[in-house]
């Protein structure tokens, strides 16, 4: 009889391994959300010159636990005219793809659930499925605000999926693999992909902000316009599940960024102690989680036309140029690192320097148009 790890029969181990992986994932998702909510409150409090939670537990550490228990104990309310099966299914449709994403994340050397050779494609596929849940939630709530939130979400997420995937494709072209483990192994040294492909990172970062519905792209749940968007009719733990899914998605996209551009689990001392890789990976992931929070506390929300215009007129064309340049340079040079880096940094400079110029021209155009219309109104009002 063949003996697997820990002296367990391999067929049983295959099942046991799955059970352990799912249990660990749920543990990670739930606790990650608790930690992130606490961090978000504290960080926003510091940035807005407040104290933040401090009553419950030391430094307010137990506040999120108290909130979670409150959510669980809340009455389960469903408005009468909501479409019951869809209303109840929507949180699950949003939540389950996010949990499934954790399977391919490379937490450390030998700490990956499954080393899928199409891991990155798997992650983008699952990421695209959450829109379905949000749209259903918006429609089934039978509420105009929810419907608007769902519609906005559908438009926004489908649009920003394009530059996000284009950003990922650039890295895949450069590394030559879709496997998360291979991509991590391709950047062992300090020269991580972020130095070579900064523009791809920038496009993916912006798209990731939009895909996780974070500021400045949180139009689907814009409180000042839509009450709470697609979340309006949800309360109690169903609402909580949506938020768990949002924080989980933030973790997943942060982990993708940490893996693809910042070397994943690689860091000082990993070769000697493999377990250290998990710590490096977590630190890198949480760096991006904190960056998301920083942006949320800093930037105002965009308008829907600005959002779409930026995606289709700026991000997608530049991302396409980036892919073309990267592909040509990989074919043209035996060691394409320097030319690709030059091209990418040039595109970053173009975006950063060019945006104010185009915005200034638009502003001037708006101003003259407003002046003209005001002039016409004054002429009409004149006796």
């Amino acid at each position: 009889m063949p003996i697997g790890p820990f002296g367990i029969d391999p067929t049983i181990w295959a099942v046991l391994r799955l059970v352990i992986a799912v249990a660990l994932t749920i543990f990670l998702v739930l606790n990650g959300a608790l930690v992130q909510i606490f961090l978000e409150r504290k960080i926003q409090a510091v940035m807005q010159d407040r104290v933040g939670p401090y009553h419950t537990g030391p430094f307010g550490l137990l506040q999120t636990f108290a909130d979670a228990i409150k959510l669980l104990g809340k009455e389960d309310i469903r408005a009468k005219l909501t479409d019951a099966p869809f209303f109840l299914a929507a949180p699950a449709i949003v939540f389950s793809p996010m949990v499934a994403s954790f399977v391919v994340l490379p937490f450390g050397p030998d700490f990956t659930g499954v080393n899928l050779n199409v891991g990155l494609l798997y992650l983008t596929t699952l990421g695209s499925m959450t829109v379905l849940g949000i749209v259903i939630a918006g429609w089934a709530s039978n509420n105009k605000y929810s419907l608007m939130g769902g519609l906005r979400s559908a438009g926004q997420l489908i649009s920003y999926e394009v530059p996000g995937i284009l950003g990922l494709v650039t890295v895949v072209l450069y590394v030559g693999s879709l496997s998360m483990v291979d991509i991590t192994n391709a950047q062992p040294g300090p020269l991580v992909n972020a130095f070579i492909l900064p523009f791809a990172f920038l496009t993916y970062f912006i798209a990731a902000l939009a895909e996780t519905n974070r500021n400045p792209f949180d139009l689907p749940e814009a409180e000042s316009e839509l009450v709470a968007g697609f979340l309006t009719e949800y309360s109690g733990m169903r609402w909580g599940v949506f938020f768990l899914a949002e924080y989980g998605e933030v973790t997943v996209v942060s982990a993708i960024m940490a893996t693809l551009w910042f070397g994943g689990w690689h860091g000082p001392g990993v070769d000697a102690v493999p377990l250290l890789g998990v710590i490096w990976f977590t630190l890198k992931t949480y760096f991006f989680v904190l960056l998301f929070m920083w942006i949320r506390a800093t930037l105002p929300r965009l308008r829907i036309d600005q959002l779409m215009g930026f995606c289709w007129k700026v991000l997608i064309p530049l991302a396409l140029v980036n892919i073309l340049l990267t592909a040509v340079l990989i074919l043209a040079f035996p060691d394409p690192r320097l030319p690709i880096a030059v091209a990418n940094w040039a595109l970053v400079a173009l975006l950063v320097v060019g945006l104010p110029f185009t915005q200034r021209r638009r502003l001037l155009r708006f101003r003259t148009r407003t002046r003209e219309s005001v002039g016409m109104r004054d002429a009409r009002l004149a006796p």
């Binding site: 067929t11 005219l81 479409d83 099966p85 869809f86 899928l116 050779n117 199409v118 494609l121 798997y122 983008t124 596929t125 695209s128 499925m129 829109v131 379905l132 749209v135 259903i136 918006g138 429609w139 089934a140 039978n142 419907l147 769902g150 519609l151 559908a154 438009g155 997420l157 489908i158 999926e161 879709l178």
Partner: protein, 166 residues
């Protein structure tokens, strides 16, 4: 020990495809139809997985569940939720529709029952590289033609929805 799993999953996916597909046609609730269509697509992705073509399966979910169903729902969301007589418009065409359906279905049925055991699929592993090589070498010309067609459709859609005053 787990040999029964593959036929079991095949049965599940087949049931999903046929059942959900029939429900899409027969049901009267348009949101449910859209979601069941997503289920059909997902089950088809499962079939691809069983055949060892995980890349195609993932693309199936990414494009059909993640994008096309959303677009359909996007259109459906503008409809009202209460019951209405969707059937009225099509009721007169029932004999014609049956005839057409039979004409389309006959070759498919004949093909399905005359189908012999296919060549065994290549060893389990990645279908990514075979897929890429066939797309960009053997079938490069049809691939480019299809992409030009899609581009033309895209440009046409933009021209159609463009406002006149701009």
């Amino acid at each position: 020990m787990f040999d029964f799993l593959e036929p079991l999953f095949f049965a599940l996916f087949a049931l999903g495809i046929i059942g959900a597909g029939a429900a899409v046609v027969l049901l009267r609730r348009i949101t449910a139809q859209a979601l069941l269509m997503a289920l059909t697509f997902a089950c088809m992705a499962g079939m691809f997985l069983l055949l060892g073509a995980e890349t195609i399966a993932l693309f199936q979910v990414l494009i059909y569940v993640g994008a096309i169903t959303i677009l359909i729902l996007f259109g459906v969301m503008f409809t009202k939720q209460e019951e209405r007589a969707y059937g009225l418009f099509f009721q007169k065409q029932a004999p014609l529709a049956t005839g057409l359906a039979v004409i389309v279905a006959l070759p498919v049925v004949i093909l399905a029952f005359s189908f012999k055991d296919p060549a065994t699929p290549s060893a389990r592993g990645s279908d990514l590289i075979p897929l890429a090589t066939s797309l960009f070498t053997d079938y490069a010309f049809p691939f480019e033609v299809a992409s030009v067609l899609l581009l033309a459709a895209l440009v046409g859609a933009i021209v159609l929805v463009k406002r006149d005053d701009q």
